[in-house]
Symmetry: C3
Subunit: 250 residues, 3 copies
């Protein structure tokens, strides 16, 4: 039996929207301790790790471990119909072959979605030694990604002990966004060794949909390593993305 | 002579927008008592009945019965240029072969439209014995229609003594919206015999453009009968739609 | 050396957006006294004259006359990324072959654009004897242009001692906008001899992007002469358009 209730639909709606942009289907594992979903995108460039502990929910009834195969595009369509302030309930149907999503606001709306078969695949668990970390306003990252999109399809991240920088270059010009210590959009800078690497803009734009512009994102970086973006979900949950670097022509 | 003036353009703009989505041209009959327009859509599935009595207008000058043939797409284009708060005047040109629409706001804007010849056709006057009626917030209906559109092109309406329900089913899942007695979006429920029938979503979406989400719509229903949607227009007017049911496969 | 700083990016953003709709590239001339750009559109129908004196800027460092060839489409793309309240700096790169645009808000964003070669062309300096002039709210003009677009692709301007009028006619009807003395949208009317002429709507719509709807535009008119639209830019600057008339079939 799986039945979870959230005060509002906003968190689930936002996370599913970002994840569905990257991944078609995924296995959501519910245990008495909480929900976890890990998946890799079809081109094996991006890893998603989505986790909400039991006490992130108003109500959380899960007796035994249950894995639900979910078509993310279909779930995203349904979640897009939720109003952010609607109370949200997700539960297994009695026959256990369908998922029931209920939004309660001025009216009560119930959607049912078929579950899908998913072969559980062993996911890589990369051990990464990030050497620099920054807490940055999501809005600054979202703007810089759009800026970078003007001149190319890759963006370079650099974190030094003084600043957080995103930049891009192309035939039509170059673009650079900087946040220095003390700037409003830079909450924290934690640098063991300065780091830089280059990434695909489209993937990052999909990932950054998980945040409102005022949210704070943690960016973990190592030179030519994958980048990790951590979006806090409430006090207890987390949506985390890992994206492989592009080889930089020098 | 026909000359009518309304405090603002909003009512006329909204009604014409909804009607023009269904019907290409129509005969508007002006008598000293008021304006009435009845028309059927090209596929003979939907009937429109639009009525505004003389005292719904700030000024209403109609000496004798006059029937004006109007190209609704053209009138809709003109009305879409009105600002909702503009004062609105509609009148016959002196030569009587054109319609003059005037919007008065920060500037005065005058549009003239050619009248068209319309053969008056005898419209069916179906006598329908509705057995259930509900007063529902237009927003709840508009949301439920969009929800239903996720899974199919038909939506089932059901009114019982306890609740108002819209639902749809398709290969990708099912959808249901319920308003129970006491819910904010359900003002009144009047049931002689519970009723249900299925209708085309596109037609209903066009019709529901006649309302703002806070408006209250009266839904009249009988099992497998046409559905009637009544949108009050001010205290005295009314825009009413009748839509034939779809045969439901059981 | 060229380095200019504006309190916010709004003026430059709005002007470039309107100009780029008409013209692909232009030579911006910076002198110690101020900036000036004059250009003609590819079909030789519209002239642009954009002028900002040195004291329209917070900071203005130009030692000697410098002409910069700018790809307006590229600059417009960059300016569209500015937030209106961002501080805006434009400067020549040290190598002097690129333009650096910097937006300072919550983050600092730097864009670089290659300069382009522009052959300076002698522009016509038409001596026009306008006989009538009106100061009109930009919103009224913008609305009337959209109205006129419903029925055709030309609009007639008329200024008499009593009123400012824009009108259009087509097969599907006719349209007219009037501002009379005393109307909120008409600030001033200055008529030596009443004037009227007809112009292309698309060009005027592009030009009118230079204004917010509350701005006041000065319209200079002479019968069958080009029309001049003057948009004040702050207290000291000016963006001015000249558009050739269409021959009116009478």
């Amino acid at each position: 039996m799986v039945r979870i209730r959230m005060e509002n639909a906003k968190t689930w709606k936002t996370c599913i929207s970002a994840i569905a942009a990257l991944i078609d289907e995924a296995a959501f594992k519910f245990t008495p301790e909480g929900m976890r979903m890990k998946a890799i995108d079809p081109s094996h460039v991006a890893l998603v790790d989505f986790e909400l502990p039991a006490d992130a929910f108003v109500e959380y009834e899960v007796r035994k471990e249950t894995v639900l195969g979910i078509d993310l595009a279909e779930m995203d369509k349904v979640m897009s119909r939720a109003k952010s302030e609607d109370e949200f309930v997700l539960e297994l149907s009695e026959g256990e072959n369908r998922l029931i999503l209920t939004f309660r606001g001025k009216s009560t709306r119930r959607f049912s979605l078929p579950l899908i078969d998913i072969r559980e695949t062993e996911l890589p668990e990369p051990k990464l030694e990030f050497t620099a970390s920054a807490q940055v306003s999501a809005g600054a990252i979202q703007d810089a990604l759009k800026d970078a999109g003007l001149v190319g399809d890759s963006v370079k991240f650099e974190i030094s002990s003084e600043e957080f920088k995103m930049s891009a270059e192309g035939d039509s010009g170059s673009v650079e966004m900087k946040l220095s210590k003390g700037d409003e959009g830079l909450k924290k800078l934690d640098v063991r060794q300065q780091a830089r690497a280059m990434y695909n803009i489209n993937y990052l734009e999909d990932m950054s949909k998980a945040a409102s512009s005022d949210d704070i994102v943690t960016v973990n970086l190592g030179t030519d390593l994958p980048i990790q973006l951590n979006f806090p979900m409430g006090k207890k949950g987390r949506l985390s993305f890992l994206l492989a670097p592009r080889i930089e022509a020098r």
